[in-house]
């Protein structure tokens, strides 16, 4: 049986080598595993490999997904790439804002008794 130029693109550039079967040696491992493990006729052999084992195995293979790399790929990588966190100026801006807030909380927690002292202290003093 021949499938001439099955994957030949219209423009004449082979998008994929025409390869009627016989691709066993070069097909993508993921494509092969997906088929030989998950698909095909399932009949219990005399050797009982638990089908559950195979399912667990494919799950394990899929679980390679649940990694940091995957998170990055899904775009959950803001801690690395966000300019507001990686740029120096921005980081200082955020830090300043935080310090001001902390100082304000400290003043509030110190209560009215020390308010006077707080007010007279230099804003960015060396206490």
């Amino acid at each position: 049986m021949s499938e001439p130029n099955l994957w030949q693109s219209g423009g004449g550039t082979p998008a994929r080598t025409a390869r009627p079967y016989g691709q066993g040696s070069s097909a993508n491992l993921a494509d092969i595993l997906e088929r030989v493990l998950d698909k095909g006729i399932v009949i219990a052999g005399d050797i009982q490999i638990n089908l559950l084992d195979i399912e667990l195995l494919t799950i394990k293979l899929r679980l390679l997904v649940a990694s940091v790399d995957k998170a990055k790929e899904m775009g959950i990588d803001w801690w690395e790439h966000d300019p507001s966190l990686s740029s120096h100026a921005q980081r200082h801006g955020l830090a300043d804002e935080n310090r001001e807030l902390r100082e304000r909380i400290a003043r509030l927690e110190a209560g009215s008794g020390s308010e006077e002292a707080e007010e007279t202290a230099p804003r960015k003093g060396t206490r």
Binding site: S9, N28, I41, V42, G45, I47, D69
Partner: protein
């Protein structure tokens, strides 16, 4: 002499055994046929000690061993498909000898014949749609917002916009997947939707949003491929990938699975 076992690759019909003379299976073993009437199982003899319960359990965990066996298994199925129609068996289906395989053939005859009738003259073509999240996001990146004076607020705003543009990108990619599927179904006899592939395992660039297998009449494969190519590149940052033709792995099932 140590005990041996019989590894089954596929069931086929009307296959000339001479065509398999040069084909090698798992462990580099020669392949032979176990006939029962016009049906035959394609098998090879393997050392039982290497394929008993304990050995398989241990070895299936090793990706290098798994790859070797998977490729050998697929290689035999492929060789059969080139010469006839193969009903591929699941990896590592092992019996205690050729006699047992003949028994299984006899018992399953009606079912095997029915499936062979359905699959003869048809091939499986794999279609995957990928989206490159970075590329798609870049194409729809939000304009930089006016700074509000508060870095914290700005940050949250930016995050929200990034998330929205990424959601848009995913939505468009998923929509493309549905469109490609709808566009190809008329050219196919049947379709199975597989779970999207793990990019770490496949090594493919981008995120897999459609992973489907189509059962196509051998005479329609050109038209099918042409249709798929036509839709390729319709959305920037996405691409369509065809694989196969494969033996009808995805359709050699007893029951139609969900999705």
């Amino acid at each position: 002499m140590s005990e041996s076992a019989t590894y089954v690759y596929a069931v086929t019909r009307g296959l000339d055994p001479a065509g398999l003379a040069a084909v090698r299976g798992v462990e580099g073993a020669a392949v032979h046929l176990v006939p029962d009437g016009d049906l035959a199982a394609v098998v090879s003899t393997v050392p039982l000690a290497e394929y008993d319960e304990e050995a398989l359990k241990a070895k299936l965990e090793r990706l290098d061993w798994l790859e070797e066996v998977a490729r050998a298994h697929h290689g035999v199925v492929d060789a059969v498909t080139a010469r006839g129609t193969a009903l591929p068996f699941r990896l590592a289906t092992v019996y205690r000898g050729d006699d047992r395989v003949a028994e299984v053939l006899r018992e399953g005859r009606a079912r095997f014949a029915e499936m062979l009738d359905l699959l003869t003259g048809r091939v499986e073509i794999g279609v995957k749609v990928y989206v490159d999240p970075a590329e798609v996001s870049a194409a729809s990146a939000p304009a930089a917002a006016e700074p509000s004076g508060s870095p914290g607020k700005d940050y949250l705003k930016r995050r929200k916009e990034q998330r929205r543009s990424r959601d848009d990108a995913w939505e468009r990619a998923a929509e493309l997947g549905r469109r490609v599927d709808a566009g190809l179904v008329p050219y196919a006899v049947d379709v199975r939707h597989h779970r999207p592939q793990n990019p770490q395992l496949s090594g493919a660039r981008g995120e897999n949003v459609l992973n489907a297998a189509y059962l196509v009449d051998a005479g329609d494969t050109q038209a099918f491929a042409a249709r798929a190519r036509k839709m390729d590149g319709a959305v920037p940052g996405t691409r369509i990938e065809l694989t196969g033709p494969w033996a009808p792995y995805s359709f050699a099932l007893t029951e139609k699975p969900d999705g």
